[in-house]
Structure formats: structure tokens, C-alpha cells
Symmetry: C2
Subunit: 231 residues, 2 copies
DNA sequence: ACCTGAACACCGTTCAAGT
DNA sequence: ACCTGAACACCGTTCAAGT
């Protein structure tokens, strides 16, 4: 299963953030650069999804020959890794605020994380399968620090972080993929009602019909934090 | 983003379970059938991962021309859907046992769900992005029924189910993709220690080094259930 | 140092045709 | 009803070559 992710250190493996004003360059002749490649990859992914990213299409958008990309980037995998991490830059409070409200901070951090991924729906399904880039590690570090300060003992920290990670990733991937056309939503709804007698409890809970994703995310997160909270 | 998933009803859209004795047919001339295609697709996915599944390779393994598959199956997407659902058949207690231990039942159901997916690591990353097949719906219905009997009120049922779903999916996807070669593990470990001064709390929690995935899954699940439990 | 086109070994799927 | 080969429009990536 995707064996070699070791030699991933290409020419520049720093975190790269996409400057948002690069909406659509007039395809002029600004020099090809890793930054530009990554930014354009994000645009392309936003526009056409994971399957829409093609080295050839990417080169086209960037205004170069298809093979020029390979000087800046090892391969397509690397493009995914860079695009993913670039989208997860954390623009939070630069240093930890001295506030006793650790719960509020954790909720804020995780809601921001989720929001960042939902802005680029392809990122949600990609993240858990990829190496942890610097921006991701930075978010994890901040989360750990907050929990630790809140009184979570070191031996429990690992479980606490993974639980929150698992919850956020699951919630975001699911939400991103259920955010589909209304046609599909209607079809699913109809299919489920047709199958109502086979799945009565599901139907009663309106599992697939309720639209309040944000509220559900928040409530479930509260449940988890209730359990995690140092007694 | 994967627009049309509507007309997915192909010739036979029932749940199909893979008979485990079909290890490797002597490539004899048993007739091509949907069952056999799906079973072979699972074999191929197990052997070569998501990217390894190719209509041409699948046809080869099944001993037919590449295009023969398309009589039984709409397209490659359908193969994924069928393979996924076939792997998630629930062989649990056929009817709900009358036991007061709802927590034990929920834990058992979710551990079984996770175990089924880990037996076929490709399934974890596929599931949240796909339509809910009959086997998946069956598992969800059973979960809902158990929670409902345990006293979770109808308005909370939706959140409860999604929270558990999110946690299980997140945990399983993450676990499946971190279960990589020891080389990669060693590399990640080394990289993280090298970055120790940048991410001290992560390092202290041994986030990526602890190997007790099953225990961590169980503990986090307990936290969540603590929060969910009807008071 | 940076970019390129031609070429290779693949893909999924359409189509017109076979039995 | 079931299967097939040829063909089309794509892929990612190697390589030898250009500036």
C-alpha cells in the first residue's frame, strides 16, 4: 500500500502557503516556481476534485510544458502532499492565550481545522492518508499543549489527541462527501424512505436528512470533551 | 466532485458476500458472474490496494476479456461500491439480544466494524466517500436500535450515531494508513525526533510512536460513550 | 539551472461486431 | 443473453535533448 514515501524531500519541502490573491493569473510569463505550482494545484483541485488533478492539466494552467513540473516536484504524489499542507496553515492566535477556558480554545481550534478542510473538500479525504506536513504538526502541537495545560496527564495525552483527531477527520470526510448535489440528496432520501420498513430506526432519527452539520459536529465534540475532561 | 451517482442501479444491486474459499480459482471456465467479479475485485484490492484495481487487471484475474466486465457492471465506480459493501457484511447476533449491557453491545459492534475494515485496508478510506450499501445501512440500523433501547431520546439519536460513525471512520482510516512499512515508521520517528524542539508536546505524548492502536481506539470510544450515555 | 517534445507503458470506456 | 478486439482519448513518467 503506497510503499515509498521516504525520499519525499524534494527541492524545497518547506510549508508553502497559497496567497489568496492569485485568482487566475493572466497566464503571463511569471517564472515557474514551486509556489505557483502548488497554488495552481489547489485551484485545480478546488475546481475539479481529486480526480481532476492531472500533471498535464496542471502544467497547462501554469502555462508550461507538461514536463517542466518535474523539475520542481518529484511526482504527482508530492503535488498532493504540498497542496494539502498549504491548505492547512493555521492562522490562529500566534501564541497561546492565557485563558482558563481550555474547552473553548479546543473547540475553536477544531472548528477552524474543520472549516479549513471544508473550504477545500478534497483535502478531507486526502489528509488521513498522507504524511503529516509542518502545518498539520503545528496544529497538533497546539492542541496537545492546550490539553496538557488543561490538566490532561501525559499518559492520557496520546489517547486524547487521537480521539479528537479521529472525530474531526471522520466528521469532515463524511460531511465533505455528503455535500453533494441536491439531486443525489433527493435520491438518497427517496431510497431511504422506500427502504423505511427495513431501517425504521434510521429513518426515525432522520439520519441522512438532517442538514445541521455544524450543530451536530459541535454537539458530538462536546460529548467527547465531556469524556476527555480531566476529572 | 463525482457528480452522478444516481443511476447506480446496475443489473443486480443486492448485497453480495464474498465466499472466502474462492482463494484463487484455477482460472478454469466457470461462468463469469457478478459474484465472481466482486470477489476477485476484493482479492485484487487486498493484494494491490486502491490504485491496483484496474478493469484490465481485474478481467485478467477473472479470466475474461477486458470488456466482458462491462456487461455485468456499469463502470469501475460500481466495482468499488460492490466490493466495499461486500466486505462489510455483518455476521453478528441475528437479532438483538435482550441484554441490559447496551454499552458492551455498542463497543462490540463498533470493534467488529473496525476489524472488518482493517482486514481490507482499502475499504476504510473508501467508505466515507461512497453511497451507503445495504450492509452498511444494516449496521447503522442495529446501532441505532441499540442506542434507542438504551434510552437515547429520538432527538439525540442523530447526533449520537454520527458521533460514533465519525469516531470509527476517523480511527480506522488513520490506523489503516499508518500501518505502513517499518521503514516508513522508522523514518517518521526519526523525522519527529529531529523536529523535537519544534513540537515538544507531541513528542512527549509519543503520538506517532505508541503502537497500541486497539487500546487507544477502545479508550477513546469509552470517552465518547461516557459523554453520550443518557443521564 | 531550467525547460521541452517525443515516446513508453499504461488507463477507462465506446462501439460495432461476433456467438 | 453474453462476450470480444480494435480504437479513442486520455494518463504519469523516462529520456535525451535543448537553452
Amino acid at each position: 500500500m503506497a510503499a515509498k514515501r521516504s525520499g519525499a524531500r524534494s527541492k524545497r519541502s518547506q510549508g508553502i502557503s497559497v496567497s489568496p490573491q492569485s485568482v487566475q493569473e493572466p497566464r503571463s510569463e511569471l517564472p515557474l516556481s514551486l509556489q505557483r505550482i502548488v497554488a495552481t494545484a489547489v485551484e485545480l483541485l478546488d475546481a475539479e476534485g481529486v480526480d481532476g488533478l492531472t500533471m498535464r492539466k496542471l502544467a497547462d494552467r501554469v502555462g508550461s510544458g507538461a514536463m517542466s513540473l518535474y523539475w520542481h516536484v518529484d511526482n504527482k504524489e508530492a503535488v498532493f502532499d504540498l497542496a494539502l499542507d498549504s491548505v492547512l496553515e493555521y492562522r490562529g492566535p500566534p501564541q497561546i492565550v492565557e485563558s482558563p477556558d481550555w474547552r473553548g480554545e479546543v473547540v475553536h481550534m477544531l472548528e477552524d481545522w474543520r472549516a479549513s478542510m471544508l473550504r477545500h473538500p478534497w483535502s478531507a479525504s486526502l489528509l488521513p492518508r498522507r504524511a503529516l506536513g509542518p502545518n498539520i504538526l503545528c496544529r497538533l502541537e497546539l492542541l496537545s499543549k492546550t490539553l496538557s495545560k488543561a490538566g490532561v496527564a501525559d499518559p492520557d495525552l496520546n489517547v486524547a489527541i487521537w480521539s479528537l483527531w479521529n472525530y474531526v477527520m471522520g466528521a469532515t470526510v463524511t460531511r465533505a462527501s455528503f455535500d453533494i448535489s441536491d439531486d443525489d440528496r433527493a435520491a438518497a432520501q427517496q431510497r431511504l424512505t422506500r427502504l423505511g420498513e427495513r431501517y425504521p430506526t434510521i429513518e426515525r432519527s432522520r439520519l441522512l436528512l438532517d442538514n445541521d452539520w455544524d450543530g451536530a459536529f459541535r454537539k458530538g465534540l462536546d460529548f467527547l470533551l465531556d469524556g476527555l475532561a480531566p476529572r
